[in-house]
Symmetry: C2
Subunit: 272 residues, 2 copies
């Protein structure tokens, strides 16, 4: 029995996650569970987990780590009361030896005793804050995917994990650059302040109208392209690492957590 | 040939670290290398490193991870141009099976191919910011160690690592609580905002005049005790974990890094 996006648009987080767990909702999560942190998901064998954590620690802007499971335990205990990472993401991508090998809406049959699940913050949080400040974001107003680009900036490697920094671009009015920088810096779990403002060529982007991922977005008169570190960066590093098995969320189909999106730390059990 | 604290008081970071590496300076680091991030240090066999990283991720206020070495590599490459973690800390504590077993000013002979070194942020950064805002801190003005207390608040465990949250106490004028909270929240790598404001009993502290570590500090008229998560927390967790070998900095004798203390992320090679 399918549940539509509109059915869930104003539902609380528990209801949204229940619809996802049951398999009734398998769509994207943008705009769902308003006010709560959404996360990218990466699941891999423990043998690679320490290096992947090091990669995240060394590249905190593209890879802001918000949660890590115990080995073989699919519950993300610090991010929610009852989050089963095998079933609570609407859709998963399955990589074998670095190659996309299939997708699924439930990975219970692929879960192994040596698996570790990671959750990484995404840009939704700071996008909400920017819009709340009255700065419009074209891709949201036009219901497209933000344009993303491979850059010439390199990540700091760790073990097998390495690769270029991927950025997302948002066109911002010239007069509001400082403000948008200040706002985004307040959200280190949502990629923090911009990686670069102004000249796409400076970070190796040849044509800002031709994104490598997502949809093109215009840069209007009086607007400046602003580039933020992007959650596709670890995705590229994971593909290059060619792990025998690695499972991620399907782009746009995130984990919705019980952590408030403006929480100082993404730890539910952390006493405040 | 000894070098004194006063010799180094206004020296740059490279000069301070050189005096430490050569063994000419083995004292405490408070006030040295002004403007640069100082870090607590924990070194352990790789077998425990993934759980310790999980412990830090789950307890970001007491354990703000600022750097992690590769396994067997003593250089902290993301925090400085030339930081050798075996020699660049003025003094080390050596724990065997969870018991303090000795100290050293150079641990080259104890370093093993399976060692991983961790650096964790400390409170110096936010203390500077608080003082700059014109809020005096009694323990600094009186050249004593901040009072620290074991609390009834529990950390979120990971593997062997577990234990109570340890806090430091600073007495703050009632009218400036909001300000000091706001300032400290800006420094997530220096323990962030307070864990508790006001009532020591609420977090299991029976007598606020009798600290478990450090020196007593008075709470003056019109002042309120404010408690921040403290870097002794991982120290207690490490002792409880009873690792066969674990090496830490000696309290007060920190690693001085090349990372600016107000850096958004503690990664030198991270492109900004």
């Amino acid at each position: 029995m399918g549940v539509t996006y509109l059915d869930l648009k104003n539902a609380n987080v528990a209801r949204v996650r229940a619809a996802i767990r049951s398999g009734d909702y398998t769509g994207h999560t943008a705009g769902l569970g308003a006010g709560y942190l959404q996360a990218n998901v990466v699941i891999m064998p423990e043998a690679y987990a320490l290096d992947f954590m090091r990669f995240c620690q060394r590249n905190p802007k593209p890879c802001p780590l918000t949660g890590v499971s115990d080995t073989g335990v699919p519950m993300m205990q610090t991010m929610g009361q009852d989050i089963d990472i095998r079933r609570d993401v609407p859709a998963y991508s399955i990589y074998r030896d670095g190659v996309l090998n299939g997708s699924a809406t439930d990975i219970s049959d692929l879960w192994q005793d040596d698996m570790v699940a990671f959750a990484l913050g995404c840009s939704f949080t700071f996008e909400h804050a920017v819009q709340t400040a009255g700065i419009p974001l074209w891709h949201i107003q036009n219901d497209t995917t933000v344009p993303m680009f491979r850059t010439s900036v390199q990540t700091v490697p760790a073990g097998r994990f390495d690769g270029p920094m991927v950025v997302s671009m948002r066109a911002i009015p010239q007069g509001r650059i400082d403000e948008v920088t200040e706002i985004s810096r307040r959200y280190p779990l949502a990629h923090g302040s911009p990686l670069h403002v102004g000249d796409p060529g400076k970070i190796g982007i040849a044509d800002v109208t031709q994104p490598d991922w997502g949809d093109p977005a215009p840069i209007g008169p009086g607007e400046v392209p602003v580039f933020w570190a992007c959650g596709v960066t670890p995705q590229v590093a994971i593909e290059q690492a060619q792990l025998p098995l690695c499972i991620t969320h399907k782009p746009g189909h995130m984990l919705i957590t019980d952590v408030a999106e403006d929480a100082e730390v993404p730890i539910l059990r952390h006493p405040e």
